[in-house]
């Protein structure tokens, strides 16, 4: 259906105008924002949608008969339908709003995990998981005495699937990120979920980095659960999504108890509401859901294949221009082939510590992250305490990469004295 994408269908330069923060200056220079893997900037359209809610129909949802309460309810349910369409879920019953991807993962791991796992059960994770898909498993493992197994990595930062089937033997669940927030690697999700299903395990996919940057089709993915965050995909903070297969969600016990998630409450017990509300206790993040809905519309208008093509073009530019400019002075983790990776570049530069490096880059208004990126087991495997990480999104263009390169040169010079 899709034709081969042109080299770069989006112009990051012209999109910049939609993002108010990108016209800000820092230390007297125009900001160069290269930390979208941590959080993205937000377009005017998203801010306007939330503002409209607060100024025109701010009211609590689902329980009001009056006009603005109905408008608010319709707006969040329309956003739910927008998210459903965006990831091609079968039904809005499968779209659960959470506060962030971390809560989404904890919801599955605690609710599904407590109900379905017991002493000695095996859970398989990858060595490139974010803490959000590790720590909740450690917590459950301590409670239930589970065995955690780890899918290793190849030298160029991809999953090493050589022994996948034997690793999965006896496993009840597989947790895997669709794209690494450190290595940039896109993982072969369908291959993973097929292998998991064959082994009798459910699969829980962390889509934090993949959903904002590529087309998502949960049905084609073959997964059982998918978690992602709004703030990394042009949406506001305070909103995440858990998608899950309806049969599984239906069978799971509730996670948080309170208003909205009940059908009846008595002194001696309660019954749950239907999906998706069963898992949405308390007043929802109404403005944030509306903002996420607007973000999804913005991305759909661009076309996710175009987003991916743009970032792939930018990835190729980055890899080649940096290798040309810096040769062996720079080393970028993860796959070298741009078809296997997204626009997240964890790198080391000369002998500079990432923390010092990003401090100097900041003086040039270049924003990159330095740290363990919530992936300490991966850092240990890479043999580093931290990396510097630059990451791009729709509004970035080659001039941003050039600015980063210029700032790297300055940093090299500064620490060479």
């Amino acid at each position: 259906m899709a034709v081969a994408p042109p080299s770069d269908p989006l112009s990051g330069t012209s999109l910049k105008a939609d993002f108010p923060l990108l016209s800000r200056t820092v230390h007297g220079k125009r900001i160069v924002y290269l930390d979208s893997a941590a959080t993205s900037q937000k377009p005017d359209q998203v801010l306007a949608a939330m503002d409209l809610y607060y100024r025109n129909f701010n009211a609590n949802v689902h329980r009001g008969v009056y006009a603005i309460a109905e408008e608010a309810t319709n707006a969040i349910e329309a956003a739910r339908e927008g998210v459903r369409r965006f990831i091609n879920a079968r039904s809005t019953a499968e779209i659960i709003f959470t506060k962030n991807a971390t809560e989404s993962l904890n919801l599955v791991i605690q609710s599904w995990g407590r109900a379905n796992l017991s002493d000695g059960d095996v859970v398989v994770l990858t060595h490139m998981e974010h803490h959000a898909n590790i720590v909740p498993w450690h917590m459950l493992a301590a409670e239930k005495n589970l065995e955690l197994r780890w899918i290793p990595l190849t030298d160029d930062g991809q999953l090493d699937l050589t022994d996948l089937d034997s690793i999965l033997v006896g496993a009840k669940a597989l947790g895997a990120t669709a794209m690494s927030n450190v290595l940039g690697a896109f993982n072969p999700v369908r291959e993973l979920t097929d292998a998991a299903r064959a082994a009798g395990a459910i699969s829980i996919i962390d889509g934090c980095q993949s959903v904002p940057h590529s087309t998502t089709d949960v049905q084609a993915m073959g997964a059982d659960f998918l978690a992602f965050s709004g703030h990394k995909m042009l949406g506001p903070t305070g909103i995440g999504v858990l998608w899950g297969r309806e049969e599984l969600l239906d069978a799971m016990p509730p996670f948080l108890g309170g208003g909205e998630m009940i059908r009846d409450v008595r002194l001696d017990g309660f019954t749950c509401n239907e999906l998706p509300w069963k898992f949405e206790a308390g007043t929802p993040a109404i403005a944030e859901i509306i903002g996420l809905g607007a973000a999804v519309e913005y991305l759909e208008a661009l076309g996710m294949d175009n987003v991916r093509a743009h970032e792939r073009a930018l990835t190729e530019y980055t890899l080649s221009s940096f290798s040309e400019r810096f040769g062996d002075d720079i080393s970028i983790h993860g796959p070298a082939d741009s078809s296997l990776r997204g626009g997240v570049f964890s790198f080391s530069f000369k002998d500079l510590h990432p923390h010092d490096l990003s401090q100097v880059l900041d003086q040039h208004a270049v924003c990159v992250r330095a740290g363990h990126h919530c992936a300490k087991p991966l850092m240990k495997l890479l043999g580093v305490g931290a990396t510097a990480r630059a990451s791009v999104y729709i509004y970035n263009d080659t001039s941003d990469i050039d600015s980063l390169g210029d700032a790297l040169e300055q940093a090299g010079a500064f620490f060479a004295f």
Binding site: E70, N74, R263, D264, N273
Partner: protein
Amino acid sequence: MPGLEDLYREIILDHYRNPRNRGELETPPAHRVEGFNPLCGDEIVVYVDLDDAGVVTDIRIGGQGCSISQSSASMMSAAVKGKTTEEVAELTRAFKAMMSIHESSLEGSEAEAAEQEALANVKLGDLEALRGVVKFPVRIKCATLAWNTLAQGIEESNA
């Protein structure tokens, strides 16, 4: 803008003030089933008696709720008495079709369109008075509560 008169037709208020078939039936032989509207707290209790041929020989309504949910239940009770479960199912589909908002007809298949037409021929009688509820979307669940509860009751007593 829809006005209150679209919602509160006189016949609705009449059923609300003078509900038909209010009360209980002995269980068994009758089957008892409860329905909740979790949003507003409305509760409906339906007692339904089916004979061996699947005919609704008797029905009673209990519970409490707003004028829409109560009048809908009252009208329903009058409409289904003496009908077979198939006829009840068809009436339920027709009623729910009236209650549903078709925001986009793009999604409906041809089969659905045919179904729509068939249902359009089902006589709703007094129930037509509830048509105005569609203009007040939050109230649709009030109107359909009794119907969903009855459907569940019939299903359970067939099981």
